[in-house]
Symmetry: C2
Subunit: 355 residues, 2 copies
Amino acid sequence: MSKRNLESSVTIKDIAAACNVSITTVSNVLNGKKNKVSDEIADKIRKEVERTGYRPNYLAKNLRAIASKNIGIIAEDLIVFSAPSIIEGIMNCCEEHGYNVVIENMRLFGRWSGRWMHDEALFQSALQPVLAKMDAMNVDGIIYVGGHEHTVNKLESVNNLPIVMSYAIAADQKIPTFRLDDVSGGYDVTKYLVSKGHKRIGIIAGEKDNTHTINRIIGIQKAMFEEGILFDPSLVEYSTWNKQGGYNGMKALMDKDVTAVFCMSDAIAAGAYSFLKENGLTPGEDISVMGYDNQEISSYLTPEVTTMALPLEEIGYAAADKIIEMVTSPLSSKDEVTDIRIKSKLIERKSVKSI
Amino acid sequence: MSKRNLESSVTIKDIAAACNVSITTVSNVLNGKKNKVSDEIADKIRKEVERTGYRPNYLAKNLRAIASKNIGIIAEDLIVFSAPSIIEGIMNCCEEHGYNVVIENMRLFGRWSGRWMHDEALFQSALQPVLAKMDAMNVDGIIYVGGHEHTVNKLESVNNLPIVMSYAIAADQKIPTFRLDDVSGGYDVTKYLVSKGHKRIGIIAGEKDNTHTINRIIGIQKAMFEEGILFDPSLVEYSTWNKQGGYNGMKALMDKDVTAVFCMSDAIAAGAYSFLKENGLTPGEDISVMGYDNQEISSYLTPEVTTMALPLEEIGYAAADKIIEMVTSPLSSKDEVTDIRIKSKLIERKSVKSI
């Protein structure tokens, strides 16, 4: 950092004055819009920037010439499969509205695997610094991107920045939420299986206390009630969301003559597939299997898994649309509670058979 | 943005003076370190911030009290499977060295699918603005995260910020590169297959002009030469990197009595699996199949695919380590060319049989 004068208090005005050009000309050069400025002047400006150690601040609102509209994204972890698609939806919407995006990655799983979920202090030790950064980075609003649906405490901005949740919930109910409609997800899957003639349906769910699990079960019960099918708790296997969970769940359901199994993730479905194949049974033939998430694996398994596509980009887009509304008209809809649940879409493939 | 005075030239010093506290105290409050400051004073400071419309700039080097060391990441696209893991490696290293990370996502695939790869103007229209932002955001250095290995032109910073490439190459050879060692990858796979008794090995590669394809083929040829096996070009099927490519490639190789197939991605392996199964053959039994990438799908297919794990976090970590070295000692190793190739690791599963 030799070249740079860390204590520099030089402003873009000083650079412009010294080079005898407008602030806009300086900012054009600093922003790489070289075509708009003659090489000679651009060179002169670069030399002056070099000499004074001046370094512009893209995010600062008070440098009007290079000010920009910024939305901050706080992601729980980019390595969670859902995060990049949600962020894609957010950035798509922000681009349409001429907003720039700043991404902060808390790396909750990368640093602590699942430990943070049961350690509020650990979680807050990651959250509070990024909230402080958002306040300090002059963003206009914050979108929180969860790795799964859970409640986030102490979400507040010192500068009173507006905040919107995507794929997670805030303890502060005034913070708008955009999340999965898991009740309708469980409902739609069950209605679909019943439409294929299945009445004795096994369920390999996620953890018992997981919001996605709980809401999907409610949807299943709703559909079964409508169809006049008794809900049999002994056909529900609570497991982990991964392949091993599906393997164990399928094993436990084997002697209960189910004709179809609703797996609450494609990873669970993959585990069910393995167990069935190990025991000489063909998924989609001997026992129908329904997945959830529409992750890549669901189209790679044989037979391809009929599943539910998560509306991740939609959730991101809607959250961005909301934060931009809050940023541009801060006084509108102050007190109304916004909790939008977005439906998953059924992707019919080859793992469910009509009986 | 009602509350904010966009033309504000208030500094943290003014806030400190008005509240009759130190700059550090103000920054503690702005950074949410409330425990260090009495509620009464914190409140007083927040009121003054509110009144003056002052908004701190987290990234600005000249606000010493809240200055921080920043590395900028330019990602070609977060939705590419390799990006989150590379970024995890970068952030892991940066955290160890007390560096903050700023992420810019160019969304090349999200916006234009593959089109940008053959349209330099389109690519530059995404690259130049983020380079300008990096210059403007006061980062100390930039790490470029490619979605696959290709050459990037016009990578330059107006402020002469140091740049390091990860998973891509810069046309400017003075820019250090950290990438896959594809030659040793192809070599290791071939040596492994030969060690299992396979001599007639089919290859389902990616596109002919893709760097990963080209280098892995060279590694295969090296190993075959050492093993005294004639390299038969008619056993190489160039395809796309996806499932369909693998399906077509396997189909084309069917009548060439290969005992093993080296698929250059797990997605290609999945396609080969489908074709084999459709034709009543068992992967890993009738024909051995080797994948590449160690993507999630490789452990979900039946039988689980023996594959090569990409050293994505290592690549990110090494790139971050290098940029921090360049930032902290800008004059060291100015002219030496750095091009580090990092090896993939063989993950033995169940898709390759000894014959």
